[in-house]
Amino acid sequence: MKKSLYILLGICCLFLLVFVNNNYNFYKETIVKITAVKLIKEETATDYYGNKDILYTQLLTGKILNGTLKSKSIELRNQYSYSGAADNQYKKGDALFISLDDNTKATLTGTIKGLKRDSYIVLMAVLFTVFIIAVGKKKGLFSLLSLTFNVILFSLVMDLYLRGINLLLVCSIVVIVFTVFSLILVGGYNQKTFTAIISTLSGTFLTLIIAYIVMKLTNEKGVRYEEMQFLTHPPHEIFMAEILVGCLGAVMDVCITISSSIYELCEKKPDISRKALMDSGMEIGKDIMGTMTNVLFFAYVSGAIPMLLVYLKNGFQTGYSFNMNLSLELIRALTGSIGIVLAIPLSLYTSVFMQHRHLKKREQVS
């Protein structure tokens, strides 16, 4: 039974890999496979701030893979720079989306719209699936399901928001539902899971409240929403929802770790005193605190690096560049870290309290 499931998954992965490299006919846009590349121009450029760059023009020859002009040959021009911040260099073998120009000349020409990236995404996804299942077995499969649910769920949340429902409200409901389901799925329906659910939810919402109060009290001083400029919606509400969702995973992680170890200790040593239990839980909490906060910190801050470089290279002052590009990321990382630290005593007290009540009940029965 189990084996056949893995074999089925393997076949699915293989099928996907083959499919995504041969799905040209499913696209409405014209796709071209590059067969030859010629560099026709190369010039150095220096911008206003003294940054030196090289601009290239390449002439690409390719074969059309779909549509009415299938297997006809076509010529494309592409300009790119050494830095490549907003352009791409194309190579032999790349598949590109193009739009055809009005052609009266002998050779077909077109305009490049973008690289066909679906094959890379699928390759990554397949590799990831194989690795996570090989290493994590059943737990790996759960993690995979959790990721898929995550993406689908929050895509649905956004649909609801666009229909005019309060984002924070929808997110709160989704957070509660997700926590309950995923913890029961992973830990089974028992008291341990119950304590993890209570502490996760209280930790997450407490963090949100703290963030909200700080933002209100300071009138959001130092929060630079310019990063979210592209949105046509008020950024404040979206940012609060992002904070709520962003810290949930970390808080859940802490709560699962602490409650599992407390229950493990109780099982190994049923006569353990309340104080010893608290001390040992605190010790575990101290151990995970430092590295867990680092996880969030790096996950958030790294995303700002490209834009930071553009600012620094465009002659903005260092302080201004960091302030503009890191303010939202730092707030996310800090609130997430506050959630992690708060979750330690919260989950500890809940599990010890529940465990104690459980023991007392058992004593009364016997």
Partner: protein, 268 residues
């Protein structure tokens, strides 16, 4: 008062209250790590090789996060070594996918916003992608490595006569739980960070095929998958190295354990 400063102060107070001395250390290591990233970005902006800088920064970050908080101990050394080896393996992989999928720089959708700036700045953005992805996952792999090696150390202390193979297997067993929760942390952190992006893609009314071929979506998905891949890869590597290092020591004696405890407490 600035929101960031107030939040940082709240975090510091909480860490100090709950973690005592270790909490203060954890907070300081966060600050140190921020300083390292800060210096690294400044150096990259001064046209130093971004990949070399990233690798050096990662080594420093792992050193600070592991040895400063946890002290000198075979389990810390094992975690440090596994982090470096995993980084080396991941590096080649990310290099390949970063070059092939061309997810560097900014997407067409962002052009309007960035058209104010000069983009021909002479910094190779393909290399920056690699730095960004590696910086994004370094925290997660360090966390996984130290969790596994310290749990394996506990197993070893309670059962000193354990064979290398048994220790390796129990390391793998422990890490399955860690795998689930750590990847969950990452997913939520990323999804939380990209909610604005999801909304944006919805606003643009892109079709499914446009989304999965777009630079903006691909670069986010590839960073999530690379981070989780890192967390997955480091599990067998840490289990292997820890079981090797712990059992390569002299046969354990009471004396040995006391020594390591003393160095632990001194925070060396």
């Amino acid at each position: 008062m600035n929101v960031i400063i107030i939040l940082a102060v709240i975090l510091f107070i909480l860490m100090k209250l709950i973690g005592k001395e270790k909490g203060t250390k954890s907070f300081l290591s966060l600050l140190l790590n921020f300083l390292i990233i800060f210096v690294a970005i400044i150096l990259i902006a001064h046209n130093l090789n971004s990949i070399v800088i990233t690798i050096l920064a990662c080594i420093l970050i792992s050193y600070v996060s592991l040895f400063y908080i946890n002290g000198k101990h075979p389990k810390t050394t094992a975690a440090f070594l596994s982090t470096l080896i995993t980084l080396a393996v991941l590096f080649f992989f990310i290099y390949f996918i970063g070059y092939a999928a061309r997810i560097q720089g900014f997407s067409e959708e962002e052009f309007e916003e960035i058209s104010l700036y000069s983009l021909y700045i002479g910094t190779n953005f393909t290399k920056i992608v690699i730095s960004t992805i590696i910086m994004g996952l370094i925290g997660a792999i360090i966390d996984t490595a130290i969790s596994i090696s310290s749990s394996m150390n506990e197993v070893y202390i309670h059962n000193p006569s354990i064979t290398r193979r048994k220790l390796f297997e129990s390391g793998l067993n422990i890490s399955r739980d860690i795998l689930g929760t750590t990847t969950n942390t990452l997913y939520f952190a990323f999804v939380g960070g990209y909610m604005a992006l999801i909304l944006w893609l919805k606003d643009l009314h892109y079709s499914f095929s446009t989304i999965i071929n777009s630079k903006v979506f691909c670069s986010e998905i590839i960073s999530i998958l690379c981070s989780s891949l890192g967390v997955t890869l480091i599990i067998p590597i840490t289990a292997g190295i820890t079981s090797y290092i712990l059992l390569a020591r002299k046969p354990p004696s009471a004396d040995n354990d006391i020594k390591s405890e003393i160095t632990d407490k001194a925070g060396l």
